[in-house]
Symmetry: C2
Subunit: 234 residues, 2 copies
């Protein structure tokens, strides 16, 4: 749908962007959209699946107006898309390439952080103890039936989709609900993504209570993107 000098794209009317912007400027615009912690937070939530503005505002702790504006930034550069359903607007990632981009960003930034960390405190301390297991290994262990898979995200996120066969105990409630975990089997915790702290905390808590526990290398979005079995969701 093209008007005189404005095109509609993704539900937004925008003036012709391409003519003047060099490719580098286009790339820079995408990077700029990624260059804010709240927006990365939102993207990580979107990586879990489609969410309404309100839901995103709630879980991210941002004001609704602020959330809306950040989401529009993400949409404008093509990282997210939106769908209007009645009075609600649902946002989601615009494609799997966005997951790849986020993963690449995490990898590079994480490497740098790790290097700095190593300098700051002579070496890693507990990080080794919190060694993660890979997706592949988790699949193998699940087939053997020798593990309990623990989803430590909030119930709403669990309900929207989770690793098939996982148990949901939010990180907050874990201490009170330890009894619900089957005895004997090692617990493998996961949450939103590779850098979601919930899983780290859960593993620490479990070990502190004498439960064998590790975390999965990455989170639910990566699991689903890999085409592995998922339960729940729309």
């Amino acid at each position: 749908m093209i008007f005189n000098d404005y095109i509609e794209y993704n539900g937004v009317f925008m003036s012709h962007p391409s003519p003047k912007l060099s490719l580098f400027e286009q790339f820079a615009a995408v990077a700029k959209a990624l260059s804010s912690a709240p927006r990365l937070d939102l993207l990580e939530l979107l990586a879990q699946g489609e969410r309404s503005v309100e839901a995103l505002a709630q879980t991210s702790g941002l004001s609704v107006a602020n959330t809306s504006q950040h989401l529009q930034v993400l949409r404008r550069v093509g990282l997210a898309t939106s769908r209007k359903a009645g009075a609600h607007v649902f946002y989601s990632l615009s494609g799997d390439d966005v997951l790849d981009l986020l993963a690449a960003l995490r990898r590079t930034a994480g490497r740098h952080v790790a290097e700095v960390d190593r300098l700051v405190r002579g070496y890693f301390k507990e990080r080794d103890a919190l060694e993660a297991i890979s997706r592949g290994e988790l699949v193998r262990r699940m087939r053997e039936g020798s593990v309990t898979v623990l989803d430590v995200r909030p119930p709403e996120e669990f309900a929207a989709g989770h690793i098939a066969g996982a148990v949901n105990i939010p990180a907050r409630d874990l201490k009170q609900r330890l009894a619900e975990l089957p005895a004997g089997a090692e617990v493998i915790a996961y949450c939103r993504g590779p850098y979601c702290v919930l899983a780290f905390e859960a593993v620490a808590t479990l070990r502190h209570h004498g439960v064998m526990a590790r975390r999965v290398e990455d989170g639910f979005p990566e699991w689903r993107a890999a085409g592995l079995p998922v339960a729940g969701g729309a």
Copy 2:
């Protein structure tokens, strides 16, 4: 080397960054470093190999002071490293993960640009004519000897490393030097990277003069990163 509250990292003294910065803030800082066209330009040049500040300023067209400052931004977030050799400082990418990150950024941003473009002008016009060939296909064609590989970057960059067997005619000089190209064989042009315009222009020029020509899907950095045969360089 740790002082009271400052650590030396990468030749820079920085105050403890980790304690306060959340992971998202760390990631955002890296993205912010990518969010400027001049810096992406510099990164693309660095992807070719190590370069001095002066050389980078020259090829990018930025002032030396400005170049230096941008490079320091890249270094601070771990995208680039520097090495001091006499009076010169040589910068380079800090690892292959940076190439991956740039590739992911290009892919996502490029997809978006393509979608917008398709809307703006009913459909691609010449883009199809400028269809690229993949690295793999180029390797095959080179083995057959049925192609002339043309490097259209400036001579300095060519000298610093190029695809083994390539001919160097800078894009600027191409029109004058058409005669140097062996007749008969299709010409395959490449330059700095997948979005380097030089190769596009070269192909357009060649076709305009009746020479069969296409460009390679990506550029020299990707070729070298793939472990394919390289000539020249330090």
